[in-house]
């Protein structure tokens, strides 16, 4: 599928999407700054969006695009709540390290 670098097909877009998803996963699992973790989640959501639109385009199907609209709306909501939580934690403890959140255990 990728043998022809000069004609862009399904595989090229999916490869970009997969690599982006991997990067996002790396950020979520291995970074300690909670803000960067949240950003990495956004990165993963973006990768999924790209896959949806790619399949929608190659299958001539509008469902992919509609789901992307839902994902974007929910991602915006998730970012708002996540940031509100982070701000509350930061105001109380002056800390953004995700390891620190272990101290929130009862």
């Amino acid at each position: 599928m990728l043998s022809n670098l000069m004609s862009i097909g399904l595989g090229h877009y999916l490869l970009v999407s997969a690599m982006l998803f991997g990067m996002g996963l790396w950020g979520v699992l291995l970074r300690k700054n909670i803000l960067v973790v949240l950003m990495s989640i956004e990165l993963m959501l973006n990768a999924v969006n790209l896959a949806f639109v790619t399949f929608g385009y190659f299958l001539n199907d509008a469902n992919g695009a509609v789901i992307v609209l839902f994902v974007i709306a929910i991602a915006a909501a998730e970012a708002a709540v996540g940031l509100a939580l982070i701000i509350t934690i930061f105001k109380n403890y002056k800390e953004v390290n995700i390891r620190f959140l272990e101290h929130l255990k009862g």
């Binding site: 000069m6 595989g11 999916l14 950020g27 700054n33 709306a73 709540v81 390891r99």
Partner: protein, 174 residues
């Protein structure tokens, strides 16, 4: 031909910015690179004949969500994480990296060797599947329930956000 160049340009922007998001130690630079990545993805959406999705991506992600992120990062004004940026412990870290590698391997295998079975896929650039009217019809028929639920979610989220940021010990402490 020009489409190929544009694809590689946007793919490079997306992936390189994405890489910098997780590799830079300064959260502000992370956020800025994430914006670059999102602009790149929106360019790819344009290439995929979905200009409306691309514009929404720019408007919501790049225009609103990331500005919010930048606000918060700038207000925190945290110093660079330095070497502490990555997770502790060689064992746990190695396990995590391995799992990511495994997942990436599965992706790669599927894309390189299985997707080629979808040879019959023939995109029709003039097909109207991403036209706003088509999407709107789907949204208000098949996805009506999800749409209503989303509306409810978008009502609950602001309330929750406001409540979270105003609780005692929050922004209005003492």
């Amino acid at each position: 031909m020009s489409e190929v160049i544009v694809f590689y340009f946007f793919a490079a922007v997306t992936l390189l910015s994405g890489l910098r998001v997780i590799s830079t130690s300064n959260p502000i630079m992370s956020a800025l690179y994430l914006v670059g990545s999102m602009v790149g993805i929106s360019g790819l959406f344009f290439l995929l004949n979905a200009p409306f999705i691309a514009a929404v991506q720019l408007m919501v992600y790049a225009g609103a969500v990331m500005v919010l992120f930048l606000f918060v990062v700038m207000i925190f004004d945290t110093k660079d994480d330095g070497k502490k940026g990555n997770s502790p412990g060689p064992l746990v870290g190695g396990l995590k990296a391995l799992s990511i590698g495994g997942l990436a391997g599965i992706f790669l295998y599927v894309i390189l060797f299985k997707i080629s079975n979808f040879g019959y896929l023939s995109p029709d650039p003039s097909a109207p599947q991403f036209e706003v009217k088509n999407m709107a019809k789907l949204l208000f028929t098949d996805y009506m329930f999800s749409f209503e639920v989303l509306g409810l979610l978008l009502l609950v989220i602001p309330i929750g956000t406001v409540a979270l940021s105003r609780i005692r010990g929050g922004t209005h402490a003492k």
